[in-house]
Amino acid sequence: MWYALLTLIRKELQALSSPQSRRILIMPVILQLVLFPFAATLEVKNSTLAIYNQDGGAASVELTQRLAAAKAFPHIINLYSEAEMQRVIDNQQALLAIHIPIDFSRKLARNEVPDLQAIIDGRRSNSAQIAFGYAQQVVSQYAQEGSKRPLPAQLVVQNLYNPNLEYKWFVLPSLVAIITTIGCLMVTALSLAREREEGTFDQLLVSPLTAAYIMAGKAIPGILVAMLQGTIIAAAAVFVYRVPFGGSVWLLYLSMLCYGLSLAGFGLFISALCSNQQQAFLGVFSFMVPAVILSGYMAPVENMPLLLRGISAVDPLSHFIIVVKGIFLKGYDLSQAWPHLWPLIVISFITLSLAYLIFRNRSGQ
C-alpha cells in the first residue's frame, strides 16, 4: 500500500507543477518577500519634527540643533506661532511638535527645571510614542551633559538578539511562518475541493485506497510545499536580507514539519466541510486572517484580552512564529523549542482526526 500512497503524492506534485499552479505558489511568495520586509515595519523613520522655539537663548538653540541632528527626525519644521503648531499637527505634517517656552534658557541657568512640552499626534499613537521616546532621549542626554555633577547611575541598555532593533530581523522569520501558511492551506483545502467538483474524488473512493490514505495523499504534498516555501524564505532571509541564523537547520526543518502537519490538519478539516472550491477558498481565507492577526505577528499576544489569548494558544501560527524567531535570533535548541512544538503536535492530532471522521462520514463509508 505504500506504493499506492507514493503514487498519490506523485500525482499531487505533478498537478502542482503545472504552470498555473506554479504561478500561484511561487509568485505570491516572491511578491510578499519583496514587499513585507519593507512595508511591514513599526519603526519610526523619515518622520517630521516640528519645533516651536519661543526662546532665543543659546541653550534652546543647542537643543534645537541636537533634535535636528537626531537620526530619527530627518525633517524639521520651524514654527513661529501656536496656531501654526496646531495646524501642523492637525494636517499631519508632523508627528510631533516640541514647544520650547520663552523662559527655557533662563530656568536652566538658574538650575531649575524648565517646561518642555511635546505635542503628539495621537492618531498614529504607536509611531508617535516611539518618536516621543527618541526625542525624550535627546533631551535627557542634553540635560545630563549640561549638568556639572555626574549622574548617580547610568542606564546601560542592550538589545539582546537584535542589537539595532532591526525590524527586518523580526519580520522575516515571521514571514517564514506566514507565507508557508497560505501555500499549505491552499494546496490541501483547495485540491480536495477541486477533486470533488471534477468527479475524480469518486474515482479515488472507489479504488482500494482508504480514507486515511487519501487524506495522507493530500496532507503530505501540502507539507512538502510548506517546507519548500519555508526554505526559500529562510534562504532569502539569511542571504539577501542578512538576518543572522543562530540555531540549527535540522531543528528548523523539524519545526516546519510539525507546523506543516498542523496546517494540513486544518486544511483538510476545512475542505471536508466544504462542498466546492469557492467555499473552500472562503473557508481558508476566514481561517487565515484571524490566525495571522492573533499570532503575535502584528501585535504581542500578551496585550490581548484573555479570550483572544486563549484562541492564540490554539493558533498553530503563534507557536511556530515563536520557534522560528527563536531559532533565527536566539539560537534555540530542542529543549527551548519543545514547549512550542508539542502544542503543534497536539493540534495536528486533533484536527487530522476530526478531518478523518468528517471525511469518512461524508463519503458514506
Binding site: 512595508a39 511591514a40 542606564l155
Partner: protein, 378 residues
C-alpha cells in the same frame, strides 16, 4: 455605443442580484459575520497600547539604593515586575519570551552610587526579537530611571536642571488607546473584503454557471449588467460599514469626532474603487478561483500592508511609499483616522476625497471598458 439604461430592466436585475445575495449563505457570512468577527479581532487583538510589559528584575544588592530603584520600577504603571534571584534563570525566561526584558542591579550598585563617581550602572537587557516592545520597554525603564533620579535629587536638595524632560501632551486620542486608531483603519480592510473579494466572485460565477450567456442574449445592455452588480454590492458594503461603525462607536468606545455625511462620502468613493477592482478581475478572468486570488493579492494585501492601517507609511523606503499612492485604501484609512479621532480637518479630507474619486473613476471606467456584450470579448 451610448450608455443606454432601461430602468425597468435595471431594477429587475438589481432585484435578482439582491435576492441571490440574501439567499446565498456564503455571502451573508462574508458580508456580515466575518466583518464583525474581524472588527473584534482587529480591535482587541492588535493592541499596541502601552500595556504592562513583563520585566524581569534581578537585584543582587541588598542596599537601600538598589531597593529604591526596584520599587520605582514596580511602581511604574507600564511595567509588570517579575523578581528572580538568579541571573541565568532570568536569562532563560528572557530567551523563552516569558519576560520581555531584564534589569540587573549588581551587588556593588549601592556602594558605587554612594561613591558618586558615576560608575554605578544599571544593566538593561531587552528582547530584541520583539523590536516594538523592546523600544517601548526601553522608554519605560528610562522613565522610571528619571523618576528615581529626580526623587534622589529632591531628597538630597540637589539642582534639578539635569532632570529636564519632555512632557507629553496628546492631541486626538489622548488616552492613546491604539484601538481608536486601528479600528477606523480596519474598517477599510473589512470593506475591501466585501468590495473586492466578494464581487470578484460574482461575475465569474455567472460565467461559470452559464447564466451570463443567457443574459447576454436578451436586450440587456452592458451598462445595465454592470450597474446591476455595482448597486446591490454597494448597498451591501455600506450596510456593513454602518454596522461596523455602530459596533465600533457603541460597543468598543471608539470616538467619532467627524461628521457622518463625510464618512458616507468617503466610504462611498472607496467602495466604488473596490467594486471596480473586484468586478474588473471577475470580468477579465471569468474564473472564480483566479479572480479571488487576484483580489487577495491586488486589494486585500495592500489594504493591510500599504494603507497605513497598522504600518507607518513614512517609515517605508521611498519606492514603497510611492507605490502606496496606487492603493486606494491608503487614502481611505487616512481619511478615516482623521474623521474618527480628530474630526473634520478639511485639508486632509479634501485631498483624500479627491484621490479616492480619481481612483473610483479609474477602476470603474476600466471595468466598463472591459465588459463585453459578447462571449469573445470586444
Amino acid at each position: 455605443m451610448g450608455i443606454h439604461v432601461n430602468h425597468r430592466r435595471l431594477f429587475a436585475l438589481c432585484r435578482k442580484e439582491s435576492m441571490q445575495i440574501v439567499r446565498d449563505p456564503s455571502s451573508i457570512l462574508i458580508a456580515f459575520v466575518l466583518p464583525v468577527v474581524l472588527l473584534f479581532i482587529f480591535g482587541f487583538g492588535i493592541n499596541l497600547d502601552a500595556n504592562k510589559v513583563r520585566l524581569g528584575v534581578v537585584v543582587e544588592d541588598s542596599g537601600a539604593e538598589a531597593q529604591r530603584f526596584a520599587e520605582v520600577l514596580a511602581g511604574s504603571p507600564y511595567i509588570e515586575v517579575h523578581r528572580n534571584a538568579s541571573r541565568p534563570n532570568m536569562r532563560a525566561l528572557l530567551a523563552a519570551g516569558e519576560v520581555r526584558g531584564m534589569v540587573v542591579i549588581t551587588s556593588d550598585f549601592s556602594a558605587k552610587v554612594r561613591k558618586g563617581d558615576g560608575s554605578a550602572a544599571i544593566q538593561v537587557l531587552t528582547d530584541g526579537a520583539e523590536p516594538n516592545t523592546a523600544s517601548f520597554l526601553g522608554n519605560y525603564i528610562q522613565g522610571a530611571w528619571q523618576v528615581w533620579l529626580s526623587q534622589r535629587a529632591r531628597d538630597q536638595g540637589l539642582p534639578q536642571s539635569a532632570m529636564t524632560e519632555l512632557t507629553p501632551l496628546y492631541w486626538f486620542n489622548p488616552t492613546t488607546i491604539s484601538r481608536n486608531y486601528l479600528v477606523p483603519g480596519s474598517i477599510s480592510v473589512i470593506m475591501t473584503i466585501i468590495g473586492a473579494l466578494l464581487t470578484s466572485l460574482v461575475v465569474a460565477r455567472e460565467w461559470e454557471r452559464g447564466t451570463m450567456e443567457a443574459l447576454l442574449s436578451t436586450p440587456v445592455t452592458r451598462a445595465e449588467i454592470l450597474l446591476s452588480k455595482i448597486i446591490p454590492y454597494y448597498l451591501l458594503g455600506m450596510a456593513a460599514m454602518l454596522m461596523c461603525v455602530l459596533v465600533a462607536t457603541l460597543f468598543m468606545d471608539v470616538p467619532l469626532h467627524g461628521s457622518w455625511w463625510i464618512l458616507f462620502i468617503v466610504s462611498s468613493l472607496f467602495q466604488g474603487s473596490s467594486l471596480g477592482l473586484g468586478l474588473l478581475l471577475s470580468t477579465v478572468t471569468r474564473n472564480q478561483f483566479v479572480a479571488a486570488q487576484g483580489a487577495l493579492t491586488a486589494a486585500f494585501l495592500p489594504a493591510i500592508l500599504l494603507s497605513g492601517f497598522v504600518f507607518e507609511i513614512n517609515s517605508m523606503p521611498l519606492p514603497v511609499q510611492l507605490a502606496t499612492y496606487l492603493v486606494p485604501a491608503r487614502f481611505f484609512v487616512n481619511a478615516l483616522q482623521t474623521l474618527f479621532q480628530a474630526g473634520n480637518i478639511w485639508p486632509v479630507l479634501l485631498i483624500n476625497i479627491g484621490l479616492l474619486l480619481l481612483s473610483a473613476c479609474f477602476w470603474l471606467g476600466l471595468t466598463a471598458l472591459k465588459s463585453s456584450r459578447r462571449l469573445d470579448g470586444n
